[in-house]
Every structure is written in C-alpha cells, then in structure tokens.
Point group: C2
Chain length 242, copies 2
DNA sequence: TTATATAGGTATGTAGGACATATTTCAATG
DNA sequence: CATTGAAATATGTCCTACATACCTATATAA
C-alpha cells in the first residue's frame, strides 16, 4: 500500500530521467512515511516542537497541500498535535485510535471478524495470571454485585449487557489499560457474532461454568484453575472453532 | 480528540449566534467522522463506488481540500481505494494499519510499552487451545528444525533471532492471521524491552522450560499442560510484572 | 512600578482556482 | 474488424488568499 519504499529523497525520485518511478505511492503517502521516519531519526520526543508546514513543504519540494494531507493522518493517529500559532508538537500517539475507526461488522470480512473473536477467547484465557497478580477485594465485590443482578433478569438484552459488564470488569481488573480499551472496542463485534452463533431461534448457549464459579476460583483458586474454568465458561464459543 | 460529536450539520454548528460551539474539532475531523458514518449507514460494502470528491465537498459545504484531508486518512487505513478516472471505491480496511505506524519504542510511553508486552504474555498463554486445534505435523517438524539450529549458536543476536522465529512459528500455527500480524508488529518492541530487562551485563534470563519441552508437549500433551509450560518458559518476563 | 488593554505578528485552518495525469469511452481510420 | 487517436473525467498536485486563534510586545492607566 504505502510501505516498503527505499530511503531515497523526493528530489532523487523525481529526477529519474523520463523513466516511470517504481513507487506507485502518492506524494501524501511518501511524505507521511518520510515524516514518521524523520521524527524518529531526529530523536523527537513527545512535547517537542516540529517544523512548520511551509518549511516541511519546501524541504521536501512538495506543496503545502500534500504536507497537510500527510499531517492530517498523523494527527488522526494522535501522533502530532497542533495549536494555532504555537505550531505543531509531537505527542504520544494513541496506539488504538486507528483500530477504533475500523471495528465495524459492516466493513470487515467474516474471516477478520472470526479472527478478532478468537482474539477475545485467547485474551480471556491468557489474562488469568494478570488477574491473580492484581485482583483487589473491591473488584471481587463488584463482580458479586453483577452476578446478584443477573439472577433477577428475564430480558435477554439485559442478560447480555450484564454478561458484557462482568467480562469488562475482568479486563479492568487486569490492570492493563490497553487491554481494557481493546476489549471495549471489540464488544460491538462480539454482540454481532453472538447473534450469528445464536441462530434464528435467538437462544444463546451457556457454558457449563457460571460467573459465580469464576468468582469463587478468583477468590480461592489459582491461575491454572481459572484458565480451565474460563475455557469451560466460553465452551459454546469454542465449539464453533475449527 | 476528534470523536464524540453530536450528529449536527456544519451549517447548524456555525450559525450558533455568537456562542462558542462546543465542538473543537477541525472540519477534516468532522468530515472524516461523517463519511465513516455515511458509508456504514448507506450500507456500502467493499467494492461499492463512492461519491466524487467534489460532490462530497458540495454536499457538506466544505472545500475540496478539507474533504481530501479526511479521505487521505481513510485511505491510509485502507478503508477506501482510488483510481484515476474510475473514482473511489470502499474497500475492506486493514484493522492493523493504524497500529503498524505507531509501534515504535521511541514514540510510546513506558507504560504503554509495558501494557503491550503484557499483551504478548497473555496471547502466548491463551493461544494454547488454538494451537492444539490447528497444529499440523509439518509445523512440528519446522519447530524442531529451529531448535536444532539453536544448539549450534553462540552469538547472542542469533539466539534472539531464533527465539523470535520459534515464537513467530507458534503464532502462525494458531491459524489466526490477525494474531500473527499483531505479533509480528510487536517484535521490535519486545527486543527493546528485553534489552531493558537484560540490564547492563546483557545477559538474558532463560526460563525453566525449553523450546524442546514445549514441542514435546505440543506433540503428546494437552492445552493445559502447554499453558503451564509456556508460563514457565516466559517466567523471567513474568518476574518483572507487579 | 505593576497591571491591564491594545495592537501587530505568526502558524495553522479553510477556500477556491488551475492544471497535470491517468484511464475510460468512443469515434475515426486503415 | 482491429488499431489508433481524441475527448471526457476524476483524482493528484500546486498556488494564492484570507480567516482564525494565539503569542508577543508595546502602550496606557492605576
């Protein structure tokens, strides 16, 4: 797409006699790539001031327009911030900002959706050690509160909501904010896939291990037991894998 | 940053008396958001032709420049493709394209790097069930070949390379392409963190369980055994968590 | 002197026009 | 009928201009 360019300058690229250059990337693609390399190679750190748009344009021998298209991308990723007169500064990017915009079941193929769903299963099993490392008493109480609410629920929609809340709480308990945000973004996809698994009757299969059992193991068991229990809890989903 | 806008039009936003509008997002931010909503709400599917730049600009009452900045972002994410006269088409986005550009240890905070490293540990433990579901004889052979090569290596750099190769092979064996690409992108970060863990002497701690043992369990054991073994294999890394 | 108010400068944000380029469509020509 | 060539068109790039917000510094008032 826009990667694997050689590290030649823009000037060298255009002064290539009359031959068509090998790269088929647009100017914006090339400038974006070059800027990212530049920021890193120059050792810029978050907070550092960056050159002005016009200076970049002149240095790369492209229009300010092209530079702005490239900068717009980096701005979207949270890599740079701009203020009116102060210019631009490098900032710590949001690693998940790109993902956030793309996670829609209408846009992704069944294959990728399937992969992301498997991703979830992998995370919830593998997360076990982090949970036992960082669980707090208040977390357990919160989980128990959720389970208590589950008892009195008839509506299937509410049941799904509480299920999501239970698992979301586990992610939060992992103490890994990136992990938590990742899961949060995936929730809409999960609901979509669960609907598919459910089939026309709308019934969702339930695993052999309940939320209560998971809590109990979290309190008195160990990571290995929790992994096995979680797998049984997610068994209906695993049944669809092949 | 650029999210959580209400769904009001541009015209409504500017004709707000003299009051400062709540939204502080640029036109490009708003157009990007609006276009993504539009594509999804219109039920566009990958391959479908999209409106022309000028039409979008007129419809949203902004300049073509602004539209192009927004489209440039979506193009970067692989969400749209363009050809010279044919116009633009929606395409299946690359969920990891945004991530790919940001995973540089020089850009991310120690905290996020730590989270991503934990992510890896979680994945390798949780991946176990997928491995046993999809492992093939040829994969095992390949793993054994890697281990054989490890025996004859003195150079620490080569040792790290073969270690990465071993674990990369496991990800490939999971049959989950998204998972595999994710891990591939994280490798540079891992090397960076491993260097930190190693300390000034440059020695990297080795887990109690070797690659050979992992292979043996993969052949004759079960997912639970593999999880425990993998955790012991990664023990030096877990030792840094708290 | 200190604080406030005002004026000017500056970098980004937006608009609009122009032309190049590539590719499709279609007509002309052998 | 096949090939060539011209016209049409949407994107890619460039340029200029101005609005906007914000920083700086100077001037004015307490």
């Amino acid at each position: 797409m826009s990667s694997n360019h050689r590290s030649d300058t823009f000037a060298e690229t255009v002064s290539n006699l009359g031959l068509t250059p090998i790269v088929n990337a647009s100017m914006a693609d090339q400038v974006e790539e070059k800027l990212r390399q530049y920021f890193i190679q120059q050792g810029f750190k978050p907070g550092d001031a960056l050159p002005k748009e016009i200076e970049i344009a002149q240095a790369l021998n492209v229009s300010r327009n092209v530079v702005r298209e490239a900068l717009s991308r980096l701005r979207m990723l949270g890599m740079i911030e701009t203020r009116k007169r102060r210019g631009m500064i490098l900032s710590e990017p949001d690693v998940l900002s790109g993902l956030e915009r793309l996670l829609d079941p209408n846009l992704l193929s069944r294959e990728v959706l399937q992969h992301l769903f498997e991703f979830r299963l992998v995370l919830e099993i593998g997360m076990s050690d982090l949970l036992f490392l960082r669980k707090k008493e208040s977390d357990i109480v919160q989980l128990k509160t959720i389970v208590e609410r589950e008892v009195n629920v008839q509506d299937n929609k509410q049941r799904v909501e509480l299920d999501v809340l239970f698992h979301s709480t586990l992610y939060r308990m992992s103490g890994n904010e990136t992990l938590r945000r990742f899961q949060k973004m995936l929730i809409p996809l999960f609901n979509y896939i669960v609907d598919i698994e459910a089939g026309p009757d709308g019934k969702t299969a339930v695993g052999a291990v309940s939320h209560s059992v998971l809590i109990h193991i979290l309190e008195q068991g160990n990571p290995q037991e929790f992994q096995e229990a979680m797998k049984k809890h997610l068994e209906p989903h695993y049944a669809y894998l092949r």
